[in-house]
Symmetry: C2
Subunit: 263 residues, 2 copies
């Protein structure tokens, strides 16, 4: 495991976008779809690649969609929507999808989802779906989605590929969204340097790197908001393999409430 992070000669990383044409249908095999799309771009998956997939195509394949017409917004959601010129049904859905409201101020609703993610509107999103008829939810269990996709790729291609499912979250203190790993399979999402020493012999106290989030961010640079590029391959990153008990998945990246100073 050590050789994975330290002894490997510093090498190049490549990020290879996978454009996918057409919408994915509920129940369709996402693995098959991505393999075909990659092949048509003359991209060939390799052992040790990391596949990063935007959550939206995962949610769509899993049917995590809600017809907005069927949502009856509460009076509170309607009042809020009128005030800010937004869609009451989307607000209603965001409230329903939340496990807990973290902040509610002006037009912003920050919630903790049932998975434990803290993000705007419980991750409910209407963009890049079908022009406003349906909203897409987060996958029910993004770690399971990632593991399923990993198994599919292994079965069809016979190789080991780590999988990250990502979404764009805002964050306190800083402007703008960055990608976050909400599902991880086949690799350890965190790299823990604690107890190790820097080249000068000084012990590294507090250094745990959220590499799955950094990989998601790297992928976000090629998976555009306006283009049909829901996935990419990251090649050349020597991730730490999950052990027999699994990787811990993205759930491991959620800071326990009692350790969190900002809830």
């Amino acid at each position: 495991m050590e050789s994975n992070t330290t002894k490997r000669a510093p090498g190049e990383l490549r990020i290879l976008p996978i454009a996918v044409s057409g919408e994915i249908r509920v129940g369709e095999s996402l693995g098959e779809r991505l393999i075909v799309a990659a092949r048509s771009l003359r991209l060939h998956f390799q052992d040790g690649d990391i596949l990063v997939v935007k959550h939206k195509i995962v949610s769509k394949a899993e049917g995590a969609l809600v017809a907005l017409d069927e949502i009856q917004p509460s009076a509170a959601s309607r009042a809020w929507a009128r005030r800010y010129g937004l869609d009451a049904r989307v607000r209603e859905l965001a409230v329903r999808e939340s496990g807990r409201i973290v902040r509610r101020k002006r037009n912003v609703l920050i919630t903790e989802t049932r998975h434990g993610f803290i993000c705007a509107n419980s991750g409910v999103d209407v963009s890049n779906v079908d022009g406003g008829r349906h909203a897409v939810l987060l996958p029910v269990d993004p770690d399971r989605s990632a593991a399923k996709l990993r198994r599919e790729l292994k079965k069809r291609l016979g190789i080991e590929i780590a999988v990250i499912v990502s979404d764009s979250f805002g964050r306190p203190w800083r402007v703008g969204l960055t990608e976050v790993a909400i599902g991880v399979a086949g690799m350890r999402p965190l790299v823990d340097y604690r107890g190790r020493r820097d080249p000068h012999g000084y012990p590294l106290h507090a250094t745990v790197d959220a590499v799955a989030d950094e990989l998601a961010c790297a992928a976000g640079l090629v998976c555009g908001k306006l283009a049909s590029t829901p996935a990419c391959i990251i090649r050349g990153y020597a991730y730490i393999h999950e052990n027999r008990r699994g990787s811990g998945g993205a759930q491991q990246m959620i800071r326990p409430a009692h350790q969190d100073l900002f809830r």
Copy 2:
């Protein structure tokens, strides 16, 4: 390892690490040092490249170092350090370097720096310096540091390169550090999709991407904590050039206090 001239897939991004041997001296030209290091790796900077540099080598070149021997910790810093088995001088320095204390709990000190960054210990760090004799501070003005480095590269190579200075910050709610752009020059750090429409015609309401942070994270995957790789080139990302009044720099990525729900 693949050479610098590997054929690129359409839309591909490449992240090319620049290993640097030996320590940089105060006052030394960082641009020159990185050009020489890149050349020895047969890497050639190209127009449109993004150079990401970890802040530590910038701070060292600028002399933003403090001899810990010269710090007289206060009684409060000494008591805290005794309690958590840490270095009272580092705590003292972190408090002195802060503009404002944001949270102080157990062994954690979250501050707002004079630049406006919110991070642990005001960014004061003793790892990867000289084994505990000196602490490194954040650069006095990381946007200025980035602009200076950009000018140096332009003067010596005659090409336009965007520059990002990065540091690793923790964040609320999620475990682990990710890289953050604390200085930016030559490119717009944020990409604003507001007012644009997705491929289905649905308007993108709240979408501003913090691309400089995503670029910093991508760089973080090759710029290791344990290796001497303080910089890398990101090639193939079509960033938005700064206009005549500049890029706004990383300062533009700090959420104004009145818009922040978590201070």
